[in-house]
Symmetry: C2
Subunit: 328 residues, 2 copies
Amino acid sequence: MSESTNLKSFPEIVNIYEHHSGLVNWDKNPTDLYAPVGYIMHQEGKKLRPAALLMIFNLWKEDLSVALNAAYGLELFHNFTLVHDDIMDDSTIRRGKETVYRKFGVNQAILSGDAMLIESCRLVSKSQEKMGVTGVLDLFLKTAMDVCEGQSLDMSFEQLEEVGLGEYLNMIRLKTSVLLGCAFQMGAKLANQREEVSEKLYELGTTLGIGFQIHDDWLDFYGDLQLTGKVKGGDILKKKKSALILAALEATEEDQKKVLLDAYHEDHPDKLETIEFRFSQLGIKEKVNEMYLAYKKKCFDMIENLPLNEAQKSRLIEFVILVLERRN
Amino acid sequence: MSESTNLKSFPEIVNIYEHHSGLVNWDKNPTDLYAPVGYIMHQEGKKLRPAALLMIFNLWKEDLSVALNAAYGLELFHNFTLVHDDIMDDSTIRRGKETVYRKFGVNQAILSGDAMLIESCRLVSKSQEKMGVTGVLDLFLKTAMDVCEGQSLDMSFEQLEEVGLGEYLNMIRLKTSVLLGCAFQMGAKLANQREEVSEKLYELGTTLGIGFQIHDDWLDFYGDLQLTGKVKGGDILKKKKSALILAALEATEEDQKKVLLDAYHEDHPDKLETIEFRFSQLGIKEKVNEMYLAYKKKCFDMIENLPLNEAQKSRLIEFVILVLERRN
């Protein structure tokens, strides 16, 4: 089923990626075009997607060097979406720094984002060619389109009063989760694994991505502030749709929904207390936590059913725990 | 050297492309994302790039169907650049209609442009795979990056008082001409022609593209208004850099440059007359026309030296004449 290989530890994998990433040169002409790319690509970030791709690839292959272009391409694509989304969402701060469009202007942010997207395709295609496999770029482009569709749904949801929890989950699946699924499947496809395995890994990565996002929504209000380093209830203060408010609306009688929505959209100093009280009446903390746990369990079940050896399965379990049990 | 094939007439080729293009469906969900794509892709346009690709491909292959995806991808890419450039340049009208960002808003224009770029890569990759050749997508992505660099230079030139004619020509080469070169080379690569031929065709297409752009600048001021349907001296009224003013600056003594630049940047009712007088003193009409004729001659020389039969060469000559002798 699978070759026996020395599985690298996660920190080792991240180190290999960071080393490669540090060598990529964005200090070139025209500076106007490439400086914004260097600015965002040299920021600290979780590097979850490239690390996931390399971790999966490493389940079968020891030499990660041929997959580094694809891994970097994936991170470049992810950062391209941040550059353009920050314009659309009017976000001023990201990772504690000015967003690209605030620092370099909207025009440069649009154009540099375009260049990042183009380069990400080139890098993915390069790794695919080097490994002599097919379908990696197709998967990447299909996913990229899904991400655009997700962002489009997200923007249209912001115009609506109420969105169903199911619609919201579909939106975050497209906007953020499929990219992790894509990272998993790309790792498997580059390692020349058969379609059945790579597709199951796509489902695993996507499920993990949704679990991650639900947990993220939960941490925003119920997380340990000392660990998250964020403002409590940032989503609620910004009146953003999240799993919490949508679950609360689903648990509320039709004639009471307007009262809850009004409380969510007001700018009252006691707003967070009001919302917390309403959420506690509806058991939202527990409900959303259960949703998250259900996705976690689904991940473990999926891993169990993969045609992999125990060492490979352990590696996947570790990764799921790393992603889902973070507190910040 | 080359297989004998029935060469289709240019109108036949355009018809085949238009038929294919008419079948592409953008009327799908999410509407917010795809409606702007349908809006611009269904507009009348010269379709120069896809027609060029198919015309070159047809020099060796009779069945154009396998190249249609790449041809459409090229047109999609070209339109993506228009959608994003119109935001950056604050252009309100294109092809006699509202630009995408004016009609659908900046956010939708950014996101729909991204989707067009992604889909263009997918289509080019699809044709490449179908023909079982390599290097087509690489060429396309390399060109796409050149186009971004060209747009970046164009934006930075707008901030400068004076730009050398050579720098300007390099900018238009990157921003617009290489895409025609790419269309030529893609046609040859898809038809599985060897590198030497395809590279020469890239040079021919790029040279033709530069000639086209110089002619475009010339027509803006010296063209027959009844044929161009444009306002005389639109570039001059908008104080845009063009081959005319840059050639005029190059022909002007250092101490007289400021006088010319001031006249170019003022908003006086007699501005066009003043500029026309200065240009005539410097012989700009003839000088820029000679530049254009030099590029035309270069195209014919290049065709002469291509390893093609007479029928193929005639086809290329016809195309060059079609592109360069237009009066509108």
